[in-house]
């Protein structure tokens, strides 16, 4: 993932949890806000309504107060003493009476005045001497007018910053009718307001000059009331929130309802809003607490739910990661019986399938790799084979000369000693030839053939090939052979390969032991089988290796040293021959490889002997000395040797050093037999053959090919296609004579 994308990576959990959490927080917050606002508004509205009710209550109370005052003083009018006083009409007596009356009346009664009908001055009794009684009486004129009309009236009067409730009562004497008016002025003071005020409300009476009375003594409250009375329209029902001394009050100004001579009189109601605010706060705190707890609980539940939901996903991710690493062993448990469970099952199935696929793929890759290795090995062998074939060819020509001339010399009537020496030369040359032959056989990739072979011969050949190797490896080879052994039907080269393999393994195993190695080769007959046994005294094979010994590519050698194909190849070869190969070993006590091969039965033996008889037909006498033979070879000493041999036999021999020369000779002469080397510069054996057969198809029967290069496939194909007889170099004189004789016999 690119870094930019990685930075923006948000887990599924976060994606789900974040909006849910946001919702969980925002929703209660929004609800809280709304509810809080509503409660606040409602509380405020209630408070205002309460205040309005309080105002009405107060107005009613004030009215009642006036009515009560009137009623109280009405009784006075009916008192006979008062009646008597009025009848007397004496100022002093009246004044004294009024003074007594004032004493009798409640303490808030400030003035009692009696105005007799048709008299300008009032007879008064006042509690406080400096009470501006005249002003008070003047201000009460409206009420007095009412009283004079016979109706008890009341009025609220403001003098300075004092308010009075004035009751005017009509005074009448039964026999004389209206006699005057009695005024009773009651001071509206704190106690009056406290008595009148509605519960939980403070009342401040405000007149134009200031606060007249207040239900509580507080300068700030009075200031606030004044301000409120001036700003607020009395008719309005809207209350104003005012802060007094840090406490919130809801204030409502109201008109007193009675006016005296333009004097504005209001009252202001204050209701403590703090308790409501407290209540709102308590509500708020409760709501917030519940919301927070709810949100927290919700968040936790959601978180757990999401974790539970994403658990399968995380498990899948981990498993996918593990599979990505190549760990197929992981399986997811089926979390739940739902889509996630299905997914887990499918995932497991997929994993299992991937596991098998991968295993198959690995096996296939291994196979390809092994095959490749095999091919490389084969290519290597093929290259070595070609190289060895070239060398062998080069060696065969000189060897042919050595053998040929040595044998020729033996027939030249030399003394016995020389003859023995010559025999040594021949044998040595033959030995060389065999080694070359073995090398060719080892490298050659030819079709397995079935010939009668003797195991002893093959073993000896192998030992000869490996003689140097074994000797330098400080290995001694013992042979424990019975005198005779039935031949077997097989491919000598392949069997050679088998034995070489086993012997070189043994040698390599013993190499690090720094002691004298010993390999014992035994042969014996058991029933219809011929057994050959190779025993060494090496370190042996580990038991767990024993079982895998013949598996292809199983090797204990370090990488690059062995292909692991050797014993596998051996196993294959032995199997092809209808035999068995087995090994047994004890660690530290060496190993024994046993190969048993079926012995050739009678039928096979007879068939083979016929071939042998044919090939080993006696050299013919020089009956036909007139026979002409042409020998073609680019090697002068081969020409010399063969020409000498054939002349001794009595043949008339011509030689040609090149193919072209041979053609020239063939143009002039007619030959009974043409002995030609295979490989020549210019026109070679094949060219020669083709030339001859082109002129006379039967001429092909008269050509004998000498080869020093048997592994060439082209040649082999050519030979087998045209049923030509070849003579491989180096050949002995006997072989040469026999071949020539056979050819001539066949030609005639």
């Amino acid at each position: 993932m690119p870094p930019a994308r990685r930075r923006l990576r948000i887990g599924l959990q976060t994606k789900v949890v974040t909006p849910v959490l946001a919702l969980l927080i925002l929703l209660p917050a929004f609800t809280l806000l709304t509810v809080d606002r509503r409660i606040s508004a409602k509380s405020r509205a209630e408070a205002e309504a309460d205040l309005s009710i309080s105002r009405d209550y107060l107005l009613k109370s004030l009215a009642n107060h006036a009515v009560a005052l009137i009623a109280r003083n009405q009784n006075l009018l009916n008192d006979t003493r008062f009646q008597n006083i009025v009848r007397l009409g004496d100022d002093a007596t009246t004044r004294a009476f009024l003074r007594d009356l004032l004493d009798e009346l409640s303490g808030d009664t400030e003035l009692v005045a009696l105005l007799y009908k048709d008299e300008p001055t009032a007879i008064t009794a006042r509690r406080v001497p400096d009470l501006p009684q005249d002003e008070l009486i003047r201000a009460s004129s409206t009420a007095m007018a009412g009283a004079r009309a016979g109706e008890p009236s009341s009025i609220t009067v403001c003098i300075g910053t004092q308010a009075y409730k004035v009751v005017a009562l009509p005074v009448a004497v039964p026999e004389r009718g209206p006699a005057g008016v009695l005024l009773v002025a009651v001071h509206i003071n704190q106690s009056t307001l406290i008595a009148l005020k509605p519960p939980r409300t403070e009342v401040i009476l405000v007149c134009s000059k200031g606060v007249a009375a207040s239900s509580l003594h507080n300068v700030r409250t009075e200031e606030a009331a004044l301000a409120l009375a001036r700003t607020q329209t009395p008719e309005a029902d809207a209350a104003t929130l005012t802060v007094i001394d840090g406490e919130r009050f809801l204030g409502l100004a109201a008109d007193y309802g009675e006016k005296n001579q333009g004097e504005e009189l209001h009252f202001v109601l204050f209701s403590n809003y703090e308790s409501r605010v407290d209540e709102i706060m308590r509500n708020r705190i409760t709501l917030i607490t519940i919301s927070v707890i709810g949100s927290a609980l919700g968040s936790i539940i959601v978180w757990f739910a999401i974790r539970r939901l994403t658990r399968p996903l995380r498990a899948l991710r981990d498993s996918a990661e593990a599979i990505g690493r190549g760990d197929f062993s992981r399986r997811i448990e089926r979390f739940s019986n739902d889509e996630c469970g299905d997914l887990a099952e499918e995932f497991n199935r997929m994993t299992a399938y991937l596991q098998t696929s991968r295993a198959e793929l690995e096996r296939a890759t291994q196979l390809i790799h092994d095959t490749q290795q095999q091919l490389i090995q084969r290519e290597k062998l093929s290259a070595v084979g070609q190289f060895v074939a070239g060398v062998a060819h080069e060696l065969n020509n000189p060897l042919t000369s050595v053998v040929g001339f040595a044998e020729l010399l033996q027939t030249n009537g030399v003394d016995e000693r020389t003859k023995a020496h010559l025999e040594r030369i021949v044998q040595s040359a033959h030995r060389c030839h065999k080694i070359v032959q073995s090398l060719l056989g080892f490298a050659r990739q030819h079709q397995p053939e079935r010939k009668l072979v003797l195991l002893h011969n093959i073993v000896e050949e192998v030992l000869q090939i490996m003689a140097y190797d074994l000797r330098t490896g400080n290995v001694e080879v013992r042979q424990d052979f019975p005198p005779t052994l039935p031949p077997i039907l097989g491919d000598a080269h392949q069997l050679q390969q088998v034995f070489i393999n086993i012997l070189s393994n043994a040698r390599q195993a013993m190499e690090p032991l720094r002691k004298k190695g010993q390999i014992t080769v035994r042969t014996r007959v058991t029933g219809k089988m011929v057994e050959i046994e190779f025993e060494d005294n090496g370190p042996g094979i580990q038991p767990d290796h024993l079982a895998k010994l013949f598996d292809p590519f199983f090797t204990t050698k370090p990488i690059g040293k062995g292909t692991g194909l050797g014993l596998s190849l051996c196993y294959g070869i032995v199997q092809e021959h209808g035999g068995r190969i087995s090994a047994r070993s004890e660690t530290g006590k060496g190993a024994i490889f046993i190969i048993s091969l079926p012995a050739a039965d009678a039928q096979q033996l007879s068939a083979a002997s016929m071939i042998q008889a044919a090939t080993a037909s006696p050299f013919p006498n020089a009956a036909a000395c007139s026979r002409r033979i042409l020998v073609v070879d680019d090697e002068p000493w081969i020409l010399e040797l063969t020409a000498e041999l054939l002349r001794r036999e009595g043949y008339r021999v011509d030689v040609a050093e090149t193919g072209q020369r041979a053609l020239d000779l063939l143009e002039r002469e007619k030959y009974d037999l043409i002995v030609s080397d295979w490989r020549m510069p210019g026109l070679n054996g094949i060219g020669l053959y083709e030339y001859l057969t082109a002129r006379d198809p039967a001429a092909g029967r008269r050509i004998l090919i000498m080869t020093g290069d048997v592994i060439n496939e082209t040649l082999q194909e050519f030979l087998s296609a045209n049923r030509l007889i070849n003579l491989s170099k180096p050949f002995s004189i006997i072989e040469f004579r026999a071949a020539v004789a056979r050819m001539l016999a066949a030609a005639t």
Binding site: R81, L88, D90, R95, F97, D100
Partner: protein, 231 residues
Amino acid sequence: MMMAHPNTLHAILLSVFLAASASAGSITGKVSATPPSGPLGDSAGGDAYASRRYKFVEKIDYASLRDFIVYIDQPVAEITPGAPSLAAVTTQKNANFEPHVLPVAVGTTVRWPNDDDIYHNVFSMSDTKEFDLGYYKKDKTPELVFDKVGRVDVFCAIHSKMHCIILVLPNAFFAAADVRGRYQIRDVPAGTYRVRAWHERLPSRTLSVTVPAEGEVHVDFLLGLAALPKS
């Protein structure tokens, strides 16, 4: 507040008894009032009566009671009832009658002057003497003769607080106790009398007293509910 004016009383008594016979003794003693029992008195009625309900019930301060009158509660033959010349005065002053209690021998004339500048009225609805002197200032001084033994409560029609008692007694052997409750009835002819101690607010108490021909007899009265005979 209202007590017998000592000067007036003495003047009256002196004028009455100076002319009396030589064979006479005095009754002296002390009149006092006591709460029914104990300093708090049973009338306190216990804790329940100390509650709000009885808060405004008048409690009598026995120690400060004044205007005790002690008199011989029977006609005394030797002495004729007081002559008309013997006059007593009840003054209306500061919207009050003075004295509050005026003991007079039957037949005594009482004058009613008004010392205030305002109108007063003097009237009584008592069975002993029913009268109404009308409204007046200083322009006149009405007089009344009390010729029937008994108690006369006098009021003012325009001042409800104005009240006095004229105690009309059968003889002139009476005395008003002073501030400390001491009294002395002089020149009482020797003999045995029923002597009564009176107070307007308490039950009276009568004792039989033998007055010696010479000297004095000492009789103390204790008024009050506790002194009532137990049924």
